[in-house]
Symmetry: C2
Subunit: 217 residues, 2 copies
C-alpha cells in the first residue's frame, strides 16, 4: 500500500501528520512525502520544517494520495505543474483525498466537478468555484474522492479509511495505539457549537490574514 | 512566549505536532524545535523527516518545554547530555510537559520524583521506575509538570494549557480554528473501552517490537 502525502510551503502540519500517524500503521503501508523539489518545506507559521524526500518526477503512482491544507494552498490553485501531477497521480489511485483546504487544490485540478466535498468550515462555499457540492460533514466520500473538514478532521479521515481498507479490528487497534480518545477541555470545535463571538473572532483573524497576504488565503 | 519542542530520532510525529498546532496559535507564541544537532530527525517508522533548527547549546531557557514520545525515548533515558539539557531548561520554565513516553524521559531526568504523572496506557507502570505516581488520566498536572497520555492526547494537553495560559475565548477560538470536533468512526481509543482482544493485539505488537529492538521500547 503506497500512500503519498503532498508537501508544500505554508502547509498546516497537523493536516498531514494526523492522517499520516493513522495510515502509517496500516499493515504493509509505505509512506512517501512528495513535493516539487527535494529538501524541506516550511509550515504556515514558519516554525517547522518538514522533509520532502521524493519529487513529482520520481512518484508517478499511488494507492492513496493525500493533499493537506494550509495557507499555501492558494498558490497551488494556479500552480499548473502541481495540479497536473495531482491529476496524473489521481488516475492511478484507489483513493484520492484531502484535508482542510487541500480540497480546494483537488478542485482546482478539476477533480471535484459535480462531486460532494468538504473543507475547513470557513472556506466551505469556495468549493462551488470548482463545481463541487459543499457538504458540512467531518469526512465526505464521493466515489474514490475523500475530503475531510478542517485540520484535526484528518485524524477521523485516517481512521475512516483504515476501517474501509483494513477492517474494524485494525482500525480499533490503531485508535488504541495512538490513544485517540479525545477529551478536549472546551467544546467549540465546530461553528455549530461555538458561541457566535468565537466564530466571528476566527473569521476576523482569517480575514485579516487574507488582507495582509492576499495571495495566501 | 517561548515554546520549545525537543526533537529526537524515532520520535512519534503526532506527539509533537498535535500540541504544536494548538500552542503555535497562542498570542505571541514563538516555537523552536530543538535537538542534539542541527539537521533532521526521522520518525519512528522512518517515513518522515522533521527539521531541527536549534541545538541544546543555542537554547538555554523556555517558557514551555514539551518532550514528545516515541520509540526513541528509550535511548534518551540514558542520554546524559539530553537529560542535563532538560534539567537545565526545566529550571527556567513556567510549564515542563511531555506527551506519551516523553514522560519517561522527564522521569529519567529526575523531574517526576513523588509527582503524579501519566504516559501511554501500555507504559503506565514504567513511571514507578522513576519514583512517579502513575495516573490514568488524559492530562495530569502536578506543580509545573504537565504530562499527557499517548500520542493524540497531546492535542487535549495543548488546549488545556491554552485554556490555563490564555483563557477560555482563546482556547475556544483555537479549537474552532483547527476544527477539533472529534468524530472517530470507531470507539476504542482507551483500554477501558476497547475490546480485550484489541488491547491484547496492541500489547502483542509492542512486545514483538521490544523483542526485535530491545533498546527501543
Amino acid at each position: 500500500m503506497n500512500i503519498v502525502f503532498f508537501l508544500f510551503d505554508r502547509i498546516t502540519a497537523l493536516d498531514a501528520i494526523g492522517p499520516y500517524e493513522v495510515l502509517s500503521r496500516l499493515p504493509g503501508a509505505r509512506i512517501d512525502f512528495v513535493g516539487a523539489a527535494r529538501g524541506d518545506v516550511r509550515t504556515d507559521n514558519k516554525f517547522l520544517r518538514l522533509g520532502v524526500d521524493r519529487t513529482f518526477d520520481e512518484v508517478t503512482a499511488a494507492d492513496i494520495l493525500v493533499v493537506p491544507g494550509g495557507f499555501g494552498t492558494r498558490a497551488l490553485e494556479t500552480d499548473e505543474r502541481a495540479l497536473q501531477w495531482i491529476r496524473d497521480i489521481d488516475r492511478t489511485t484507489r483513493v484520492t483525498a484531502s484535508v482542510c483546504t487541500g480540497s480546494l487544490v483537488l478542485g482546482a485540478a478539476g477533480l471535484l466537478r459535480g462531486r460532494r466535498a468538504t473543507t475547513h468550515w470557513a472556506r466551505l462555499q469556495r468549493l462551488t468555484e470548482f463545481g463541487a457540492i459543499p457538504v458540512s460533514e467531518r469526512v465526505v466520500r464521493d466515489g474514490k474522492i475523500a475530503t475531510a473538514a478542517g485540520v484535526a478532521a484528518g485524524i477521523d479521515f485516517g481512521l475512516t479509511l483504515a476501517l474501509e481498507l483494513a477492517g474494524r479490528e485494525v482500525a480499533e487497534a490503531i485508535q488504541l495505539g495512538i490513544e485517540y480518545d479525545p477529551a478536549p477541555p472546551v467544546d467549540a470545535g465546530s461553528p455549530r457549537r461555538a458561541a457566535p463571538a468565537i466564530v466571528d473572532a476566527v473569521l476576523a483573524r482569517l480575514a485579516a490574514r487574507d488582507r495582509a497576504e492576499p495571495v495566501a488565503i
